[in-house]
Amino acid sequence: MIAHSIFFYIFSFVAIFSAIMVTVSKNTVHSVFFLILDFITISCLFIMIGAEFLGMIMLIVYVGAVAVLFLFVVMMLNVAQQKKQWFSSIGSSKHIPLGVLISVIIFFELIVVIGGWKFKPDVASLMSLSPNAEISNTHSIGNILYTDYIHLFQLSGMILLVAMIGAIVLTFRKRSGLKRQSYFSQISREREDSVELMDVNSKQGVDIDA
């Protein structure tokens, strides 16, 4: 168990450190890289508690897709690097009271949520089933997700679809004067449409614009 706990502490230390660095680092691109490091260490922690499916999905979805988009946005926006030292502008900033207010509210909300946390009475009996059972956790997640929670699952799928369509509709602009390639019109072009034989009289030429 020693090696296990050593790795656990390494991963959790890196996770917390990089989470702090996300907010503290001055370069926004560095923040995103720390966020990615955070995602990776958290998926390592998932794997350590035996939830290998969740860990891998975390890697594929968050690191492989979401963080790439983050990185793109941050790189493209080219946010001016903050030259001032951290903490140096505390006295002059007018946003500090608002920030303090919001963090106090979130802090008390967390206290309320965690303080009122109760496990459902049948959790203990369920816990003895899954971790050491014969079936892998991919199977057990599938068994639950596609039977008991199928309606919620489908509903979240619908919400994502609506969000996706909404985002496309909001950002889609039809530009005029754009040349697009149409395979169909390319293939269906006949000789008669494009080539014409003409008898050209000497010294008169032919009017090609007609």
Binding site: V29, F33, E52
Partner: protein
């Protein structure tokens, strides 16, 4: 405590036993690529260093090793140096789950295929980091192209993997190979194999989809500012990724280490040799495509990925699932 040390030594030994051949193979495969490419175009290719030019890659590696590493003054140094390391590391750690025979695999994990998919989707970071940290226009444009391309084609590769998983009922790579004992998946899922092959070309930035480093437009894309050993590491990582994709293709569709027919001369050949044969076969197809097909335009590439491959593979998921369900062939029943 000694138990841990023992395990660590054993695992290190196993990893070296796999990685040294893989790295050698990557060097050889570069030579093979150039030879095949040359033969298609009626040239000789590298044939001077060593027998048949076999040591050409070695000579190239030595050359890269002794060249100066130049880091641009305005580059972000840490990320600039990290980028080739990330590319190389990700290309190599993926080999941990590739089964070379029923018992020879370093990490026989439950979610092997997801691991491979995750590692290959992380591969895009080496390119983005390299392109951004160079602090130069061409590398940045190249890395943006490459990232968009890899993210798009990953989607269709993921759905193709779902097709295979429907027939297997397990995410373990060994199980996937064993499920093909009677019938390789290339036969029932042939269209998926074709789409997988083309998507793998795009995923590894191989011609005809090598737009990230289209030399006519972008100098060399994200590698423009790299020199010496760092460039060589990008290069090695790229070829290790290609080999990995070939290995994934042969495991998913060509029956992994299984012999085509279980009769005397075939089953006498050891398992890992079959896998190597299949990887080489796919790789030679890769290099033939490189020699034959001209480069795609970027909008055509995106159109192919999103408007043709994605609907096709989704449609095939429906067909596979309905077929298996109707004939009661679903695994796990």
């Amino acid at each position: 405590m000694f138990d841990y040390l023992n395990i660590i030594f054993l695992e290190t030994y196993k990893i070296l036993f796999l990685l040294v051949p893989v790295l050698t193979a990557v060097a050889m495969i570069v030579w093979l690529d150039r030879r095949v490419w040359a033969f298609v175009q009626k040239r000789r290719g590298p044939n001077v260093v060593g027998p048949f030019g076999l040591f050409q890659s070695l000579a190239d590696a030595l050359k890269y090793l002794f060249k100066e590493i130049i880091i641009p003054a305005s580059a972000n140094k840490i990320i600039f140096i990290l980028a080739p390391i990330v590319t190389m590391t990700l290309a190599l750690i993926a080999w941990a789950v590739i089964p070379f025979s029923e018992n020879f695999v370093i990490a026989d994990i439950n979610v092997g295929i997801l691991y491979l998919f995750a590692v290959s989707s992380l591969g895009v970071y080496g390119i983005i980091m390299g392109g951004w940290a160079s602090n130069s226009k061409y590398p940045f444009l190249g890395s943006i192209r490459s990232a968009a391309q890899m993210v798009s084609y990953e989607v269709s590769i993921g759905i193709i993997i779902i097709n295979v998983l429907l027939c297997v009922g397990s995410l373990n790579l060994t199980d996937i190979v064993l499920a093909q004992k009677n019938l390789w998946f290339i036969i029932p899922l042939f269209p998926m194999f074709v789409i997988f092959f083309i998507s793998a070309l795009a995923e590894t930035n191989r011609p005809p989809f090598d737009l990230p480093e289209a030399e006519a437009e972008l100098v060399a894309g994200y590698q423009t500012e790299y020199s010496g050993m760092m460039y060589a590491m990008f290069w090695l990582g790229e070829y290790a990724n290609i080999l990995l994709m070939c290995a994934l293709g042969s495991i998913l569709f060509l029956g992994g280490w299984l012999a085509p027919i279980e009769v005397f001369p075939f089953n006498f050949i050891p398992d890992f040799v079959w896998l190597i044969f299949k990887i080489l076969f796919l790789f030679i197809l890769f290099s033939l495509v490189k020699a034959i097909v001209p480069r795609y335009r970027y909008d055509q590439l995106m159109k192919l990925g999103w408007k043709i491959f994605l609907p096709m593979s989704l449609f095939w998921v429906v067909i596979t699932a309905s077929y298996l369900f109707y004939f009661n062939l679903l695994p796990g029943n």
